[in-house]
């Protein structure tokens, strides 16, 4: 984990959450820019998981190894599934589906920051 990258994920996810609720509030499906933004969030999230995995491979040992690995894998599959689910029926609720997934990415990144403490 790199703290600056984690905060970037949190910020991007936060914007995605708000964006999703905004398009729902004005009764519109997510637009192209919004979908691209979600894709961008996914890319940064994947980069974060790869860097963390590399650090684990290099010998870093967090207190809860198994849980950390679970989070690093789980966090990258949320946005792609939500993307598919949101686009299969496009309406105001598509935005909320994306928002829910982004919120989960945000919460999981916060949790990862806590999990990322070396085992003594």
């Amino acid at each position: 984990m790199i703290e600056a990258l984690a905060y970037a994920v949190i910020a991007l996810a936060g914007v995605a959450v708000i964006w999703g609720f905004v398009t729902a509030a004005i009764n519109k499906p997510p637009g192209k820019a919004q979908l691209l933004f979600a894709a961008g969030l996914e890319i940064v999230t994947v980069v974060q998981s790869i860097i963390a995995a590399a650090k684990l491979a290099a010998g870093f040992r967090p207190v809860e190894m198994a849980t950390t690995i679970g989070y690093l894998i789980g966090i990258v599959i949320l946005i792609p599934i939500a993307w598919f689910w949101a686009n299969a029926e496009r309406n105001r609720f598509s935005g909320i589906v994306l928002a829910v997934a982004a919120l989960a990415v945000l919460a999981m990144t916060l949790r990862l920051l806590v999990l990322w403490t070396p085992a003594t």
Binding site: W85, I96, V97, A104
Partner: protein, 143 residues
């Protein structure tokens, strides 16, 4: 007899996987993932520590998986299974939540349902209520 919006009874199909139901399925899916991952880690790495709590953790995971799939399918048969799963979920979160408060010794480590899902912003407590409300809202018309 005309209170409320009138709906054509023959052509109206209110499916559990449409409209707001898609958000519900998304939230259930996230909890299916979270509970499954959590239960797997618990059962595989430290089962002896608290077998009862971790088996309940696995039950929670199973319930979320079944509810996610059945709500996402949205057929008449699947909504019956969803109803059973969500009732088990509601009973589970209330009983495990209460047990974890009253007898904390039996639940030394957190599960999804501990203290009514406090670790997940109490969403596990609200979710089955929303699920039941949604099943009621989308109930098929009686013949």
């Amino acid at each position: 007899m005309t209170d409320g919006p009138t709906q054509p009874t023959d052509s109206t199909v209110r499916k559990t996987n449409s409209g707001a139901g898609r958000v519900l399925v998304a939230v259930y899916g996230i909890f299916a993932l979270a509970a499954t991952a959590r239960a797997s880690v618990q059962l595989l790495t430290k089962f002896e520590e608290a077998p009862l709590a971790y088996l309940l953790s696995a039950l929670a995971a199973l319930v979320y998986i079944v509810a996610t799939i059945t709500l996402a399918r949205g057929t008449r048969a699947s909504r019956r299974v969803a109803l059973v799963a969500i009732i088990i979920e509601l009973v589970g979160v209330i009983s495990v939540g209460t047990l974890s408060v009253v007898d904390a010794e039996a639940f030394p480590r957190a599960t999804v349902w501990s203290v009514y899902g406090i670790g997940y912003g109490f969403v596990p407590l609200v979710l089955p209520i929303l699920g039941l409300a949604w099943l009621w809202h989308t109930r098929p018309d009686m013949p």
